[in-house]
Point group: C2
Chain length 305, copies 2
């Protein structure tokens, strides 16, 4: 098990415990009441599953600067809440209309559409609530920098915008447009890449990274995000549903343009290898303290789900 | 025209201009691209309408401490983005299923459901993006305090939680429950009251209010939020659709329990008058610098839409 895999498993455990507490039915100061059904839906979506890749990336990146413990965990929880809300909303009938997620009913299937929409909305608010807490970092300037990164990476020019372009490319609002390689690459960099890169950047902010270090982390995060999506596309083509944990071959069935479809499997695998090299190159200025991040790039490429 | 009405009209103009710029199709630093259709949906929902009551409350409250200009405007835009996203999502077929809002097609009618969900999601992210900007306040501690207030007031223990309880009270998830006066009061304090009280509190934070002053603003905000909702219920019963700008008599038709329905019109009017007294009492320690807020309470009660 690599250092990153150990960090991933340690982070997954800490995230589970922390989310269980954050999503307690008991209202916090400044809250009036927490509706039982809404809490249940948020817990359904957030607990008991997921690799917790993004929180582990925050932790691996913060570790570069010897920052460990509660601070990267809190920031990681915030990113995970954003990721989780996007899955709930993307699964809705009006969007990708999925019944299963990680082998369990999606939130709107386990509950109902209205509850699922609201659970997603509340998770987004919770993400920023978590970042605003002193436990995330004693310095308000650090906390507000985290808010800025996460808000921008997840909003109309990032994750949400990427989902919008993805639906458009499927021809949902007229003839599909973004089916060439540059178009698919743009969609993926927004829909998935932005939040992965933000996770790495947030670790750097927690560690008080210099502008040069932050720049290196940004380049690393972009290569990593791209590699993540390419690996995901390859799994969709070549993986089997049991190990991937969701239906495979879905993209092709949906007539969805993917990089693997456009490049072919062999070229995609070669590109994946070169992305790992690019990720390594971005970290060249760091020593062994960056090993967890280097291993993260390998993990993302070699994972089977 | 009272001082608050002048402030309201001045704020409405500034909000319109600022939103037009914030919702430009051009990506900002840290954003990859802004999908045209998503920007169009966000503009449809946010521009050309609305009283901009919440931004005016931020401004009126900040004015208590001689703070005017861009800072309360930025904070007000953030609250307005949260308010706007909640209207888009509440109007969805899975929620209140409304075709009209301010006399124009709701966002999912003018576009489609997926676009409306994403436009709401992106507006929520935009709200926190705005608060994180230095233009909102030079001190990061003030900005993060605004994030904390807005996230908590709008999340599962505030606005979103209130919408959830409202749907539950309508019997959406089984037999309706919250139909007594305390239940309706709880729903309203969460669904509408929390964001109105947050607007007032945010003005106080921008003004560097003392703990005592902030406490007074909190009490004022709570009375104001309650009064706002009661006035809204009375308009639904007694107003006509043309001046209210949306269908009236809707609550009764939906079999929805309202305070007016439970108390009767006369008792509701009397309660409304006593809420204005309570709002005034909360501001007793302030001099004429609080007149805009005092007038805000009267405006909320006497408005005809």
């Amino acid at each position: 098990m690599s250092g990153f895999e150990a960090l991933l498993s340690e982070t997954a455990e800490a995230v589970e415990v922390a989310l269980d507490s954050v999503l307690s039915p008991k209202p916090r100061p400044g809250e009036i009441a927490r509706p039982e059904r809404l809490v249940a839906a948020m817990r359904h979506a957030m607990l008991g599953g997921g690799k917790r890749l993004r929180p582990a990336l925050v932790a691996a990146s913060a570790r570069l600067f010897d920052v460990t413990g509660e601070e990267p965990l809190m920031a990681g929880l915030a990113v995970e809440c954003i990721h989780g809300y996007s899955l709930i909303h993307d699964d809705l009938p009006a969007m990708d209309d999925d019944d299963l997620r990680r082998g369990r009913p999606t939130t709107h299937r386990a509950f109902d559409e209205a509850t699922a929409i609201l659970a997603g909305d509340a998770l987004q608010a919770l993400a920023f609530d978590l970042l605003a807490q002193e436990r995330t970092h004693p310095d308000p300037a650090v906390r507000i920098a985290l808010v800025a990164i996460l808000a921008r990476a997840s909003g109309l020019g990032g994750m949400v915008g990427g989902q919008m372009l993805d639906l458009a490319a499927e021809g949902r609002f007229g003839p599909g447009g973004g089916a060439d390689e540059a178009g698919v690459r743009l969609i993926q960099s927004m829909k998935t890449g932005a939040l992965i890169a933000a996770s790495v950047a947030m670790g750097g902010v927690l560690g008080g990274a210099s502008a040069t270090a932050q720049e290196a982390l940004l380049r690393f995060g972009e290569s990593l995000g791209f590699a993540f999506q390419l690996a995901d596309d390859l799994l969709d083509v070549a993986g089997d549903a049991a190990s991937v944990g969701k239906a495979t071959g879905k993209d092709a069935a949906a007539g969805k343009a993917t990089l693997v479809g456009l490049m072919g499997i062999d070229a995609a695998r070669a590109r994946l290898a070169s992305l790992v090299d690019e990720a390594d190159a971005a970290l060249a200025a760091f020593g062994s303290e960056a090993d967890a991040l280097r291993e993260a790039a390998r993990f993302v490429v070699l994972r089977d789900r």
